[in-house]
Structure formats: C-alpha cells, structure tokens
C-alpha cells in the first residue's frame, strides 16, 4: 500500500478497499480461480488477443491494482455512457467494483453538488499522476468555452485541471476523439477534440458514435492487464479494435470481390444480401470492430440489418457528404461523389479487378491492401 491510498480508502464506501488487488477482491467474494480463468478467456476474446493468452492474463490481472478513474462528460449526448452501461461483457457492475474505482462520473454517481465535486478533487489529490481520465464529449472553445459548463466551470478549464494529474486519458466516442457532431459545420461552439487541447499526456481514442461497449471495457482491461495503453493507430485508436476496416471483416465482402452490389434497398441484390457499397456503405474506409464484435450482445451490426456503415468512428464523418452516396476516393478525410450509381457501376468492375491484383501483391509481401489501392 502506498501513501496515496490511505485517505481515499478510509472514505471509500466501496465494498472492497481501493488498495487491494483484483485477485484479493475476487477471493473475498468467493470467486474460484476457474471462474476467474473463464472471465479472463472472455477478456482475451474482448481484447482480440489469441485465445491461449487467458492464463497469462489471469496471472497479470490477479496482481493488478484497481486504478482510480475520473470520467468527465462534456459536450455530448450521453450515448457513450448509455453504450457502456449496456456492455455485456464484463458487466458494468463487475467492471466498476472489481476492475476500476470509478470515483467521478456525473451521470452514474449517487453524490451530487459539492459532494460530487469533492470526490473528484479527492481522487485527483490522492492519486495524482496515477488516475485514468476518461472524457466523453467535445470541448467548446468559442467565447471562452461558455457553451458547456459543469459546477459553473467551463469544460476547457476542467479538462486542463484534471488532465494535469492523469496517467493517461481515454477519449471515449467520436466527439472526444475527433470533435464529432458538435464539431460538424458550422460548429457554432468551436468544438474540438481532447487531443486538440492536451498535448503532454498519452491519449487513446475510442471513437464511434457511440463506441462499441466491449471496446471501452476492453481498453480498460488492457490497461489493467498490461499496465499501459495498447498499440495505437495513426489516429490514436487501439489497433486491436480499429486495425481493420469494417469492409475487411464484413461477411458481405465476398460479394464485393465478385462485383455483386445491391442497387436499391429493395432490389434482388439487397434481398440476396449483396454488398451495399453502391448504396453508400462507408465500410471500406471505416476502422472499427462492428463486423466481428457486433452490437446488442453480438446480435448483429448495421450491414447485417441491411444498411450501409455510416463511418461514425472516422473523423468528420458527419460533414463528408450523404450517407447514401458511394465512396469515390476513400481516404481520410472522407470524400464522396454525388452520382452514386455512376461511381458504383464503375467501382463494381474496376475495384474487383484492382483488388485482386493488390491482394496478390500484398499477400506476397505480407502487407495489407489499403483503400487507396483498392480504389485505384
């Protein structure tokens, strides 16, 4: 136990003292090691790690200390928290009481007013340099940031203060990661992402509108298991979840390769489950885990329900043109053409051929084909 633990431990009303390891708290609850191994198998699956790593995760997690987490909700719709509270694996209760110490979250906490702000201040003081800061929502910058305030303080002010003592920052949702919908034109509040303001802390972006709940918990589990942040892509997102595009993992991909496209939402192609590329699917340029992790406890994902991907985990997805216009030159930022049918018809044949050529090259060089390559 270190010096920082004592004060909050005394005031902490959680069933398990904050300084204990996860293993201690599980043992106290009478959870067997077999049950824990099962839990770790689920975590390995969540984190997209090889299934055989469950035992190693169990060994690491059992010694892990529960980190203090401060969750700040800024200019947002609470969709990200809604997503997390519907996380099915592990349950939120498990996560809060066993994996982390959620010391401030103004939607979920029982405390209000001064008491709520005091718990945040206590956690910041007692775990300075060690706590995790989770942010959902963008930060308005215009007119001194007056468009969104908590306890009379602007989001900008609060972010600067809390970020100072954070070990790392997790930006949950597209708003916190890239500015999201508040940042969409004409952006009246001057909304920006966390990474536009904080430059001296490790930031991990868990984008999506909302993000997949399992991805939020998976990143927290990774932090606990390995004591650090996972490997990130060039937009600061964990590669284990955002390393591939929706298109790469889509079960309709073989139809794309064959040039079989639905032309309208009720034609024969749509009924046969053909590729939705020509109907504006942004799967080829969208990095996320929807196609495999899926939604609602693994029930389905938008493409499985017959609608193209909107690209919600990419920057500026809201300003990138119609959701129903086919991609023309898929690169970041997203670009589209108005004539979906024309672009689609050309893409259907050309893409299929180009794709095969590139796939052969990539295979021999052990490299992934990029979207730019696919669309050449």
């Amino acid at each position: 136990m270190n010096d920082h633990d004592a004060p909050i431990h005394e005031k902490n009303s959680h069933e398990f003292p904050i300084h204990e390891t996860l293993g201690d708290s599980l043992a106290q609850q009478g959870i067997s090691r077999r049950a824990f191994l099962k839990f770790c198998t689920a975590m390995a699956s969540l984190m997209a790690l090889p299934p055989g790593t469950a035992t190693a995760i169990a060994e690491a997690l059992v010694k892990a200390k529960r980190p203090s987490v401060i969750w700040l909700s800024f200019q947002e719709c609470t969709g990200c928290t809604e997503s997390l509270t519907r996380s099915y694996s592990p349950t939120l209760e498990n996560m809060i009481f066993n994996m982390i110490s959620l010391d401030y979250h103004h939607t979920l906490q029982a405390a209000s007013g001064y008491g709520a702000e005091k718990s945040r201040e206590d956690a910041m003081k007692n775990f300075f340099g060690k706590y995790l800061l989770v942010v959902d929502g963008s930060i308005p910058m215009n007119n001194g940031g007056v468009y969104s305030t908590i306890a009379g303080r602007t989001n900008l002010d609060l972010l600067h203060e809390v970020a100072k003592g954070a070990a790392a920052i997790i930006a949950v949702g597209t708003c916190a990661s890239f500015g999201g919908i508040p940042n969409a034109k004409p952006n009246p509040t001057g909304a920006v992402a966390v990474s536009d303001i904080i430059k001296d802390k490790p930031i991990i972006n868990i984008s999506g509108c909302p993000p997949i709940p399992a991805v939020i918990t998976g990143v927290l589990a990774h932090y606990l298991t390995f004591g650090g942040l996972p490997e990130l892509d060039d937009l600061g997102r964990p590669k284990s979840f955002y390393g591939e595009t929706i298109h790469d993992r889509c079960y309709r991909r073989p139809f794309y390769d064959q040039g079989k496209f639905a032309k309208t939402f009720d034609d024969e192609g749509a009924r046969n489950g053909w590729c939705l590329f020509e109907l504006g699917c942004k799967g080829p340029v969208t990095h996320n885990a929807c196609a495999t992790t899926k939604w609602n406890g693994g029930t389905s994902f938008p493409i499985e329900s017959g609608h193209g991907c909107l690209g919600c985990s990419e920057p500026h997805f809201w300003d990138a043109g119609s959701f129903y216009s086919a991609l023309s030159m898929p690169a970041s930022p997203l670009k589209y053409v108005a004539g979906a049918a024309v672009a689609g018809a050309a893409a259907g044949v050309a893409v299929s051929i180009g794709n095969r050529i590139k796939k052969g090259t990539a295979k021999s060089a052990h490299q992934k084909a990029t979207i730019e390559d696919l669309e050449k």
Binding site: R33, A42, Y251, F255, G273, T293
Partner: protein, 138 residues
C-alpha cells in the same frame, strides 16, 4: 427485453453461403492434424470471425455432438461439448445474464477450464481439513 428473446430466426438456406464454413473446417482439420501428430493444442475464437447469417448454425450442424458434454457454473454457466470429431471441443461461456461472453473451438485433449485449478485445490484442501477437524471433535 433481451435480444435473444426477440422472435427473429436466422435464415439457414443451404444455398446462402459466403464460404466461411469451408474455410473454418479446413483450419480445424489442420490444427487437429497437429494435435494428432505432436500434441499441440490450439483455440479458435469464434467471436472474432465474420459469420454470415445462418453460418454459425451451419457450423454447429457440421461439427455435431460427440460423447462428452459438461456444464460449469462459475459466474454464469459454461457449456463444453466435444464435437463428433474427438479433440475438437466447443466451449461457450455465458455471463449471469445469459449472454455469450466467449465462444471458442478448442482443439485439445481436454479444455483447461475443466481441470481443477491449483489455487482452488489448495483452498478446497483447507476446507476439507476444517471439516475433518470438526468430524474428529464430534
């Protein structure tokens, strides 16, 4: 209402396939060959695979059920079934709400989750000693 209780049934027409099942069965065969030759175990995480509607059910049908099935109650149920191909086990873990939290194919002689864990053995032994003590006192 839970997603599983919504009365929607996936279409499993024989002619609807994007080829995932054949690919997966080929991988299982390759891994089973290694198990047979040098005892190397392997796992396939089914949650990470892009199944088309109905393909999951077709995989179940293709692998079938073998001689062994086991049920574990540990923070929710787990179902462990040896398929009709000895050495290929289907392991499904549920949470207490009944949602699937992990779904794997294990190519091994027996899944590790079935074995008694050393820590559990030790704490069980301690309990047994306490019980023995009480028996002696009576």
């Amino acid at each position: 209402m839970k997603p599983q209780t919504i009365p929607i049934y996936t279409q499993t027409e024989a002619d609807y396939s994007v080829g995932n099942i054949r690919a997966l069965l080929t991988e299982i065969a390759a891994r089973l060959e290694r198990l047979a030759n040098d005892g190397t175990s392997a796992s396939i995480d089914l949650n990470s695979l892009p199944f088309a509607p109905g393909e999951y059910e077709r995989l179940r049908h293709a692998l079938g059920k073998g001689e062994v099935s086991a049920h574990i109650e540990a923070i929710g149920p787990s179902e462990i079934t040896e398929t009709r191909y000895p050495g290929v086990w289907w392991v499904t873990h549920y949470n207490v709400e009944g949602d699937i939290v992990a779904d794997m194919l294990e190519i091994t002689t027996a899944p590790e989750i079935l074995s008694s864990q050393p820590d559990d053995i030790r704490s069980g032994l301690a309990l047994l000693h306490i019980q023995l003590k009480e028996e002696v006192q009576q």
